[in-house]
Every structure is written in C-alpha cells, then in structure tokens.
C-alpha cells in the first residue's frame, strides 16, 4: 500500500520548472532518501508535501487522502512533521518551549480556559511535558532544556529541530538535510536516531541528504533527483552505481 505518494507533480516558479512530472511512492515504515545536486528541487518537493507550495499539476496523497485542499497548518493533524534546511526554530524561546509547541496540536483547551489556566489546562500541560521529556531523553537534549536557542551551537539546533518535529508524534517525518553542519560524531548519533525513529517509534522517514555515508547507512530506498526530474529509484547501492546518476554528478 502506498503511504505517501506524489503523482506526476509539477511546479514552476516563473519560467523555471523546479519539479517536473515527479512521481514518488513512499511505503509505510521505510526510510526514503532524496539525493541530488544543489538546486535539483529536493526542498521544493518537501515544500509541496507540506503544502507551503501548491503544485501546478499532479496530485499528492497521504494515507489514502489527497493533500491538495489542505493548508500547511493541517499537516501535523494528519501526521506529517518536517524540519527545514536552514533551521527554523523559535529563537527567543528555550529548547523546552520549542518542543512544547509541538504539543499544541493535541490540546483540547480554548484560549479562555488558558487565560484562566483552569485545572484541565494544567493537567494537559503536565501531560505535554511528560511527552516532551521523553523526546528530550531520546535525543539527549536534557542538558539544554532551559537554554535559549540563540545561544546553542548549530549542531544542537539541528537536533532540537528534529526533537520539535518528533514532539508532534507524526506518522511521517520529512528531514531536509538533517546532517548538514553536524560534526562527524553528531552525524553518527543522528544515524542511530533516525534508525530508532523508524524501528522504535514506527515513523516513516523521508529525508533529503547530501551525506552519502548517512544515506547508505540508514536509507531503505533512494531516489536521485536532477533538474527537477527523478532519474533513478532503488536501493542505495543500485542508485549510486546507476550510470545516469554518475553522469549527472560528474557531468554537471
């Protein structure tokens, strides 16, 4: 059964067709990596799935439903979470507060009960906190709990962003270059975490990544994207030995 799928999706910005007739089929429970040179359209595909962009042609389905009519802020509700290539955290808040934002989607209180801070709001806050602490335990973020994002290193911020996405308890996680800017050590941790996200949490992962070591280590399947077109799909080995992919990487 296809879980997350793109069918002949095309988008143009002015004259540039950034994504051309792309079809992808991501299965539930797999780790799927998108690779390709700069400007290939990888982030654009992420923005299409998370509805920040609307495709000109084609359809996107998730869990049997079309995403075409949905808004970006509907994504967490249906189970899609993402990170950004250029880290988009809430900079004037602490790590804890950033992660807690992820629990907002599950709240049942309205703004009046929150202003009065009723008993049920407090109860929900404690539940949210317990959940967020689990995510922090998982990613080893406890030491940064009360730290402001602005004072954190780049690598830590990337992990915080991953944690914030996990706090949404998604079914599928879109990671845009999770390892860029990470040290070798941090990248190694990341590989374990991504595998655990799949195995222990049962979350499907779609990631864009330039670091082929990481891709080889964790990805079940890979798609190579060049100039907005998918030129090869398959397991990591076969894609990397595909003559078309080699040509695209060396030739361009």
């Amino acid at each position: 059964m296809s879980f997350l799928s793109l069918e002949n999706v095309t988008i143009s910005f002015g004259g540039i067709r950034a994504v051309k007739n792309v079809s992808l089929d991501i299965k539930e429970g797999e780790i799927f990596a998108l690779v390709g040179p700069n400007g290939a359209g990888k982030s654009t595909i992420f923005n299409l799935i998370s509805r920040l962009y609307k495709q000109n042609e084609g359809n996107i389905f998730f869990d049997g439903k079309s995403l075409n009519q949905l808004k970006p802020f509907d994504m967490p509700d249906i189970g899609i979470a993402r990170t950004f290539q250029n880290i988009e955290l809430f900079g004037n808040a602490t790590v804890l507060q950033n992660l807690l934002v992820g629990t907002n989607v599950r709240k049942s209180s309205n703004f009046l009960s929150e202003i009065l801070f009723t008993r049920s709001v407090r109860k929900e806050e404690v539940t949210s906190r317990v959940m967020v602490e689990e995510v922090m335990d998982f990613l080893d973020l406890q030491q940064y709990r009360e730290k402001y994002i602005m004072g954190l290193s780049y690598g830590t911020r990337k992990i915080v962003e991953l944690g914030r996405a996990l706090a949404l308890k998604p079914k599928v996680l879109l990671l845009d270059e999770p390892a860029s800017g990470l040290s070798a050590e941090e990248t190694e941790d990341l590989a374990f975490w991504i595998e655990d996200i799949k195995k222990i949490m049962g979350i499907t992962v779609l990631m864009v990544e330039h670091n082929l070591n990481l891709v080889n280590k964790v990805a079940d399947r890979v798609a190579a994207l060049v100039d907005g077109e998918i030129i090869s799909v398959g397991n990591p080995k076969s894609v990397q030995s595909d003559p078309k992919v080699i040509e695209a990487y060396i030739g361009v």
Binding site: P76, S109, I115, R122, M150
Partner: protein, 366 residues
C-alpha cells in the same frame, strides 16, 4: 546563590518558582496595598497613573513583544476604551462594572476588524496601517460630536461600584486600590497566557512563521487573537485613564501617545511583563524627576527648562537611543544581568549573556 530543587513538572508550571519567590511578590503586593498610607495623594495619583500605563503597556506587549506585530496606533484603542466606558455609563445608564468590560470588548472588536484583513502584513507595513487607523479614529471622534463631545471633549462621571464612590479628587485611595486590583488581575491573566499553549503559539508566530505553520499553528487566527487580547487590555487601560483624568478629548489619544506606548515597552524590555512595568515607571516618573531637578538644582546653575518645550519627550527619546544601542533587551534585560551578577558572585563571566551570532532572516541563503 539560591538553588531551586524541582520535584515535579508543576514546579515549572506554577506562577512562583518557590516559597522565596512567592514571598517576594507577596511583599511587593502588601507594599502596594499599603502605599496610600505611606505617600501623599499627589504621589499616589502618579503611581495610579503608572499602573494605568503599565496595563496599557501589557496590552501592547502582548502584541509587540509576544506575537511580534508592531502597532503604532495603540492610543486609538485606549481612546475607544475611554470613550466607550463614559458613553455606556452616561448615555446608556449602564453601571461601571458592566461598562468597563464592554469598553474592553469594543476596543477588542476594533482590533479584530483591523487584524483580520491585515493578517498578511508585517513589520513596517502593519505599523503604518495601525498609525493610519489611529489618525482615523481621532477624526471619527471629532466627527461623532453628539456622542463624543467633539473637540470639546467629554467628562467622565465618578466610578460607582455597589454605591461605593471612586473619585480621583475625593478619595484617590479607593481609586488607586481599584486600579491596583485590575492590574493584578491582568498580570495573572498575562502570566497564564505565557505558560499555556496560547503563549507558545504567540512566540512561535513571532519567531518563525514558516515553522509555526509546520507545527500546525494557524497564523492568521493566532495573530487575530493576539490583536483581540491586546486591544482588550489596552481598551481597559484607556477606560481607567479616562476616569483618571476625568475630562479628555480627541487630542488626549493622539499619535504621540501611541509612540510613547511603544517607546515605553521597548525601554522596559520587549517580551516580558516586567518590561511593561519598568517602561511605565520611566514614562510616569520621568516628568516628576525632571521637575524635581528643575526645582532643586537646575535653577541654581541658571538653566531654565521652561526654555526647552518638549524636554520630556527629548529626554525620553535620548534614553531610548541609549537603550537600543547598549541594551536592546531594555531595563528588564539589564536587571536580569545585575541580578545574575549578584546571584553568581564571584563567578559571573562578562560574556555570559552574549548570544551566539544568529542568522538574520535576510542573511540566509535560501
């Protein structure tokens, strides 16, 4: 140095970190309650006014400091509050206790009217638009002469609650206590917002819209809600202000007031309730300090401030410039540093509060 032992998540949720923290505020409240017995009526009036500024400041702080939307027209919402509360009482015969919240709601309603179509406007554009709205409101007040008294202005009746009379000149003590009570209520409400999902949604929208979206936050709704809450608080501040000054006209709520409100929260420290109060103290006590200086030593050295009209605004602006250059986090930011210095003495490091260079949005390569 005080170490706080946390034993449950409630420790982080509670309004007060621990007993000492709680007692500090109890002490402050007792002091505030006892103030009428300590200072004379003139100074009590000034303190009451500072509290009103602080409420207005909290209103603007919700919008600017927490949801990241700049308003240069908040005097208009004070005006709506002030005129509504008076008209509701004198024309519609409603009691104060009903008119006050209604005045807040009316102001809130105007805020929503502005917020809905402008949900996509940012920074300078929103600031200019709110500025235009406040000029428009000024004009409407003049035009609505039969209701508002036009250029002549309007008289606020004495506040009556259950036949207790609150009059600035008759019994400033009770008026002060009333204002203090409302201030405390708003502080608690504001604190509650900050520790609940709503407050997180506000700062999410402020810090990164695109990831707020990705976290499932409906940006237009959140911004509108921020406007509604902000204008409610500011409207109430306006209503209290109207009763405090007892007579006012359209000019009372002009653009200078809007700008002063904004300067106030920037000087006080954006993004904190303390900031609104520190800013209100500056705006409220500065004229007193200036006149004190005038009376006590400037005259002696031959400087006559009467020759400098607008000296208060000038000094105020100077303070603002100094703060923006040297302490962007306002008085509250400076206060935090001083407090940390003493708490950690002698371990304080000079660059403790130095923040790692963070990328500005415009610097990022997309």
């Amino acid at each position: 140095m005080r170490v706080i032992f946390k034993t449950s998540y409630d420790n982080d949720i509670n309004l007060f970190k621990d007993k000492i923290h709680f007692l500090q505020y109890v002490f402050l409240l007792v002091f505030a309650l006892a103030l009428p017995f300590i200072v004379n009526d003139y100074y009590l009036g000034e303190v009451a006014l500072v509290l009103i500024w602080a409420i207005a400041g909290m209103g603007l702080m919700v919008l600017v400091g927490h949801s990241g939307q700049v308003s240069l027209g908040h005097a208009a919402f004070m005006a709506i509050g002030a005129y509504s509360v008076v008209i509701l009482q004198s024309r519609f015969g409603l009691p104060f206790i009903v008119s006050l919240p209604l005045a807040g709601l009316l102001s809130s309603f105007l805020g929503i009217l502005i917020a809905v179509p402008t949900a996509k406007l940012h920074g300078i554009y929103l600031a200019i638009l709110t500025l235009a709205v406040s000029i428009l409101v000024e004009d409407i007040i003049v035009l609505a002469d039969p209701l508002t008294g036009g250029v002549n202005g309007i008289f606020a009746p004495d506040i009556e609650i259950f036949s207790i009379n609150f009059n600035r000149y008759g019994n400033i003590d009770s008026l002060y206590w009333l204002i203090l009570f409302i201030t405390v209520v708003f502080i608690i409400g504001y604190k509650n917002i900050l520790r609940s999902p709503l407050g997180r949604a506000f700062s999410a929208v402020r810090d990164s819209e695109v990831s707020a979206l990705a976290m499932g936050i409906n940006i237009a709704r959140t911004r509108t809600l921020a406007f509604a809450i902000s204008c409610f608080i500011t409207g109430i501040a306006g209503a209290l202000f109207g009763h405090f000054v007892t007579v006012f006209n359209y000019e009372t709520f002009n653009v200078v007031l809007s700008i002063n409100l904004l300067l106030m929260i920037v000087i006080g420290g954006l993004g904190s309730i303390h900031g609104a109060f520190f800013g209100a103290m500056v705006i409220g006590f500065l004229p007193i300090i200036i006149s004190f200086c005038r009376d006590h030593f400037l005259d002696d050295i031959g400087i006559n401030l009467m020759n400098f009209p607008g000296i208060e605004t000038g000094i105020f602006s100077l303070i603002l410039i100094l703060f923006i250059l040297f302490e962007p986090f306002g008085i509250y930011g400076r206060w935090l540093k001083i407090r940390t210095y003493f708490q950690l003495f002698p371990l304080y490091r000079k660059d403790m509060f130095k923040r790692q260079k963070s990328y500005l949005k415009t610097e990022r390569v997309r």
